[in-house]
């Protein structure tokens, strides 16, 4: 009894037999995944296997329809919550393709996000000075160009700047569960180190990360506890970090059969 309660507390995210489709086409075909606090999970797999779809479904993107299965996050039914409620509960997605929002300044966007999340936790809005201090601190952490936060959200940012901006937002919002969807692709080694640093700084016994990537490169910096291979909407193999190296060497075909 004691043991199982402890186990429950340790589990952050539990996905069971998750099926999801878009426009009637099934993309996820029964995904099972359990993430405990303090863990880092890597999800790898060929293009089009459903990795981004999984991230979208966890975060509540209305484009995708869950047709079967359930997702429990910290003991609550995640699928019942709106995307903003999930964010408020501590789930963050670093988008594979961050969205440009012309006319909405980074500053206003960040302030709105922070205050919304604070409201969700019954906290007071952030003060102006505290907000500025936080912005400065996190920009330094991810080595982001100061000018970028004066611009509209992602507008005219280079690919690398967009990715860095995702990590900046993650650092600002300090989520419990961070999902990084190919945050490493298109980044040079320098930027990669910054991204990894951002993730590692966030790592604690209370937090967890899901790192989606199809290069093993990032995993030199972020050491995963588990590596999963997603193929055709299902996790077909799970291993430790050595699986990533094996995939790097042999590709995915040997798993597909």
């Amino acid at each position: 009894m004691y043991f199982s309660t402890r186990l429950l507390v340790c589990i952050m995210l539990e996905i069971k037999n998750l099926h999801a489709s878009v426009n009637g086409k099934e993309i996820l075909k029964g995904v099972d995944l359990t993430v405990k606090k303090g863990e880092i999970h890597a999800i790898m797999g060929p293009n089009g296997s459903g990795k981004s779809t999984l991230a979208s479904v966890i975060t509540g993107n209305p484009t995708f329809e869950v047709t079967k299965g359930n997702v429990i996050y910290e003991g609550i039914d995640l699928l019942e919550l709106d995307p903003e409620e999930r964010a408020g509960a501590g789930i963050f997605l670093s988008f594979q393709y961050p969205i440009e929002i012309p006319g909405v300044s980074m500053v206003n966007f960040m302030r709105a996000a922070i205050n919304a999340q604070r409201k969700y936790r019954d906290e007071e809005p952030i003060s102006a000075t505290e907000f500025l201090r936080l912005m400065r601190e996190k920009k330094e952490l991810v080595e982001m160009d100061t000018q970028l936060t004066n611009r509209s959200v992602n507008e005219g940012f280079s690919g690398g700047e967009k990715k860095r901006n995702e990590i900046f937002q993650m650092a600002m919002l300090e989520p419990k569960l961070a999902i990084l969807d190919e945050t490493d692709s298109g980044l040079d080694i320098d930027a990669l180190r910054v991204v990894a640093n951002g993730v590692n700084k966030l790592k604690s016994n209370e937090n967890a990360s899901i790192v989606i990537t199809h290069y093993q490169r990032l995993l030199d910096y972020i050491v995963p506890d588990y590596v999963h291979v997603l193929h055709d909407g299902k996790i077909i193999k799970t291993g430790d970090k050595s699986l990533a190296l094996e995939l790097e060497e042999k590709g995915y075909d040997w798993l597909k059969k």
């Binding site: 975060t59 509540g60 993107n61 209305p62 484009t63 709106d82 995307p83 903003e84 999930r86 964010a87 408020g88 963050f92 997605l93 988008f95 961050p98 969205i99 440009e100 929002i101 012309p102 006319g103 909405v104 206003n108 966007f109 709105a112 996000a113 922070i114 919304a116 999340q117 969700y120 509209s152 959200v153 937002q169 919002l173």
Partner: protein, 465 residues
Amino acid sequence: MTNSKTDIQTTTSRKKEAVVLEQPYIELYEQNEETIHIHSASALNHGRRKAFEKFKELGFPTPRVEIYKYTDLREPLGVDYGLNIKRMNFPVNPYNVFKCDVPGISAYLYFVVNDAFYPMENRKSHPLPEGVIIISLRKASEDYPELVEKYISKLAEKHVDGMIAFNGAFAQDGFFIYVPKNVVLDRPIQIVNIMRSDVDFMANSHNLVIVEQGAKAQVLVCDHTVDDVRFFSNRVTEVFVGENAFYEHYKLENVSRKTTEVSTLLIAQEQNSNVLGNILTLHNGITRNNIEIDLDGENCETYLTGMTLSDGRQVVDNYTSILHNQPNSHSNEKFKYILDEESKGGFTGRLFVAKDAQKTLAYQNNKNILLNHTAKMRTKPQLEIYADDVKCSHGATIGQLDEKAMFYMRQRGISEKEARMLLMYAFTADVIDNIRIDALKDRIKILVEKRLRGELSKCEGCSIC
């Protein structure tokens, strides 16, 4: 109020079965022509008969008239309005009715009640610079007849438009602004139009603005209604902008849903002049803006922008024409609409480039967001380009809010409602950024935000500016 039916001429003879909407107005004119003359700015009387004949010929526009196909004025024109032909003073102190304030704008502030320029003896506004005149057109016709007659109706009379002709027949007064050569006004002129009546009421006014060579003026026209009756406002404003002059015209409309406004703004630019027009419709009933800008000299710059936020059954139709009559000028036009519920928007962007107007640069853009399936937008670029060495572009889009951006914001914790608000606000940002009066820009930002949050549904005590 003394504007009982005995003082105010009405068209009560009209009955439902009346076949034509024009008839009561034709009779009203014919029976009162002399009264109209006596109580009018004399400069408006010269062309009055001709305008009346033109109106008789054209009638009120119906959607069958090409240029009015997006606006149906027949219902509002069927209302039995009072007209203040005898120019009775409406006993109202606008300072009391209207606590008008754009914080920090410290404008030269004037009021127009219905179509009458409000006497300003006790005005608290700043003294005008030497030579600048801001008075009623009627007084201007008496005091500066040559100046007024040199310009009056020169632009309006070229138009073949029933509403403009009607205005020519019935308009008796308006405001007159004169900024002499090389005088730079250090603060904006703010004209607050207040519609005030106990009975359904129609106002026809004719305004004249002259900004001479090298002068600079910013005019902010705010439209308000304070009574819950049907109003019909038919206004013609002519603006003459001299060589090297700067002129900015802001029209900010925040009137009741029972108000119909037909507003014609005609601007003529001489060479090297710079004009900005910004047409902001925040709250209204039925609005038709006719805007025509004539670029009559070389190297003119023209920015024409506008924004509409509408819901309910609001109708906003902006019919715009920019005429490049001479070479080397640059025009940039941008209109944005956010339409909700059953509101209707119309936009026509007519761009004319004369045969000799080489090296013209002209950009036009109309972007629209429909928040609802029942809202409707009709947009039409109309390019008439007769020169060959020009750069012209136009674009129009009608769409919804960006779903991907919505999700991105919500993923960060921002509520759906707030995310929509931010996106709509962002959509209007470049029109607001085109406001060159900082205090007005700040005020508009707040008003737009309030409007988008639905906090400005009924004119908010008209404390818009």
